[in-house]
Amino acid sequence: MKKLAKSKLFEVWSIIAKEHELFVPVEQEGESVNFSLWQEGEHVNLDHLKTNVSPKQIVFPQTETYLKFKTTGKKLSLENVGGKQAPYVLFGVRPCDAQSFALIDNVFLTEPVDRFYEERRNKGILVSLACSNPEETCFCQAFGITPGEAPQGVDVATWDMGTFLLWKPQTAKGESLTNQLNGVLEEALAQDEQDCQELQQDIQQKLKDLPLAKIDPKQITGDLKEIFDAKIWDEYSSRCLGCGSCTYVCPTCHCYDIRDFDGGKAGERFRCWDSCMFSEFTLMAHGNPRKTQKEKFRQRFMHKLVYYPNNNEGVYACVGCGRCMDKCPVNMNIVKVIKKLGGEKA
């Protein structure tokens, strides 16, 4: 294990940014914090727990052009423009968000593999940051995430130890990044590692005291048909405004649409995020199988709590980050749904 003095963060970022695009949590206009490209002078905020929008946009951009097309006379020319070119480092990603990448991987990296997504994942180095102070809307533990531990799959795991970050490379990519920073990183002492253990215990204790500590989707019993026909969908969907806030701030939602900018003789084909809340979602030539907000609302939660786990060895498609709770204009959210379906420990 290594350690990175906070006073040397700027130096580290400068080194990383020489050969990579570096994404860090940046405070914008003194208001929200979001992952964006690091530049000298940006106000990086590593204390802020949840970025306003999830870092999903780095691996799965909201809008991504696939190809450009042009006709000259009778000749049609196509130009492939998709894919990520530059290697990048995502610095300070929280364990819930890191887990969300693994969930999206299950969708995009199984056959047929989504090449553009794969390229973005391969070009990225993830540096996670443990959550020293989980918030009241956090319920990642309901999905087996331990925000104090090093998340699986991240290249470097870090912990905020006050004056320094404890730095633990976990993969070959992580080792390689660590080597590049050799001049700045220091060796961690046995005491540091012991302090980290204490921090982890402290985090575990904090988790137990959170208001949503008892949320447990595994307590949801009943077969698919029973849940599908539950009364809750009528009751809760009637309050839903049908906007896409929850889906667009969600780190695990991954539905998309493919559209064209059609300029007549030239245009672009692009992929963009879609939302199951929208009226034209699943619209087909014959009409829409999900006619009302009830069906759309049900789909969102069935997907996360039933369909996805059925297809992925029981893993839920939610990481408990709580962003949807923060953002819903009418305070409807997945926790209310889980509770109503019986997903709570006694």
Partner: protein, 327 residues
């Protein structure tokens, strides 16, 4: 507000028991100290779950469009701003007044949870009680009283109608508040003082944050089309791309579409997940309309006509009489 909350439950129970209405639209509490969500009740026993506190910010009037299609008579709790929205929905022929019983709630202002969090008062917070401008922050370790409006939503600080403008029954007493017309469009004046280039940059930056989630549209009481043009695939403009041109197009079209019908409830800005100050667009249009055609406030009256749907020969020509059509 707790005494009023008890009355809210009582009124709802009686209305359902007597058969005066068959459904009540109100609010219920949820997981957190700031959690209030709409609830629709048909059983009088369920009326016990109704609340009225400083977090009942959601406007229930727009739900009437959908609910009245299946329910003959509905009772609804409306604050001042919500009642403006109600009037506008009436005027837009989206709801039928005969089917609705309005229980008006004078509103002291709603609390913005973000402001409480920023002040660090949210740690261990269990409940926030409000009585006029006196707030009581209740934690497991005791209570802290603060007398201040500094936690109110910005939109509530600008509020000009704390009391409902239309109701069948007023619950509680009217709130007396000084409301100032002077600063109402200060946000617009600040933007107008910028150069066109600066202004363009300002809005481009704001719109570039847009996620195209449609929360602003869906919460808006003036956005009540059965099918929005942006949901109409056949129209060819339902672009979901987050590129400047699409974002600007969406917001400018929306602002113009609600021109003369926006009741200035500020919900668009409140619900925006990325914090775009959308109300400023509406304010700009209102300010211009007021300057051109005289003061008009949508929603205050349920029957008068907006200057944009009336025409008189001596109407000011915006390209002639009003700043000569300058940018």
């Amino acid at each position: 507000m707790e005494k009023i909350a008890a009355k809210v439950r009582e009124v709802a129970k009686q209305a359902l028991a007597s058969g005066a209405v068959t459904k009540i639209l109100g609010w219920e509490t949820g997981e957190f100290w700031y959690d209030a969500s709409p609830v629709f009740i048909t059983d009088e026993k369920a009326a016990d779950s109704l609340i009225w506190d400083a977090f009942c910010v959601t406007n229930l009037s727009k739900y009437l469009i959908k609910e009245l299609k299946t329910t003959q008579k509905i009772g609804v709790f409306l604050k001042g701003c919500d009642s403006l929205a109600f009037n506008q929905l009436l005027k837009d022929h989206r709801i039928d007044q005969e089917q609705v019983v309005i229980y008006g709630l004078p509103c002291p202002g709603m609390i913005d949870p973000e402001k409480v969090k920023k002040a660090g008062l949210h740690q261990g917070l269990l409940k926030v009680k409000r009585s006029g401008d006196e707030l009581t922050f209740v934690t497991a370790n005791g209570e802290k009283k603060v007398s201040s409006r500094s936690f109110d939503y910005d939109k509530c600080l600008r509020c000009r109608y704390p009391n409902p403008v239309v109701y069948q029954e007023l619950i509680g007493e009217e709130i007396v508040r000084e409301t100032s017309n002077e600063d109402r469009f200060a946000d617009v004046s600040a933007l107008e003082n910028l150069s066109p280039e600066e202004r363009y940059d300002y809005w481009t930056k704001q719109f570039s944050k847009c996620l195209r989630c449609n929360a602003c549209r869906n919460v808006c009481p003036a956005c009540s089309c059965e099918k929005c043009v942006f949901d109409n695939v056949a129209a060819g403009i339902s672009g979901k791309a987050t590129v400047d041109s699409e974002e600007q197009f969406f917001h400018i079209i929306r602002a113009y579409h609600v021109a003369g019908r926006c009741v200035d409830c500020g919900e668009c800005s409140r619900v925006c997940p990325v914090g775009i100050p959308l109300h400023k667009l509406n304010h700009k249009i209102m300010k211009d309309m007021n300057e051109l055609y005289g003061t008009y406030e949508a929603g205050v009256d349920g029957a008068d006509k907006s200057p944009l749907v009336t025409y008189t020969l001596d109407d000011t020509d915006p390209f002639d009489g009003h700043r000569q059509g300058e940018k």
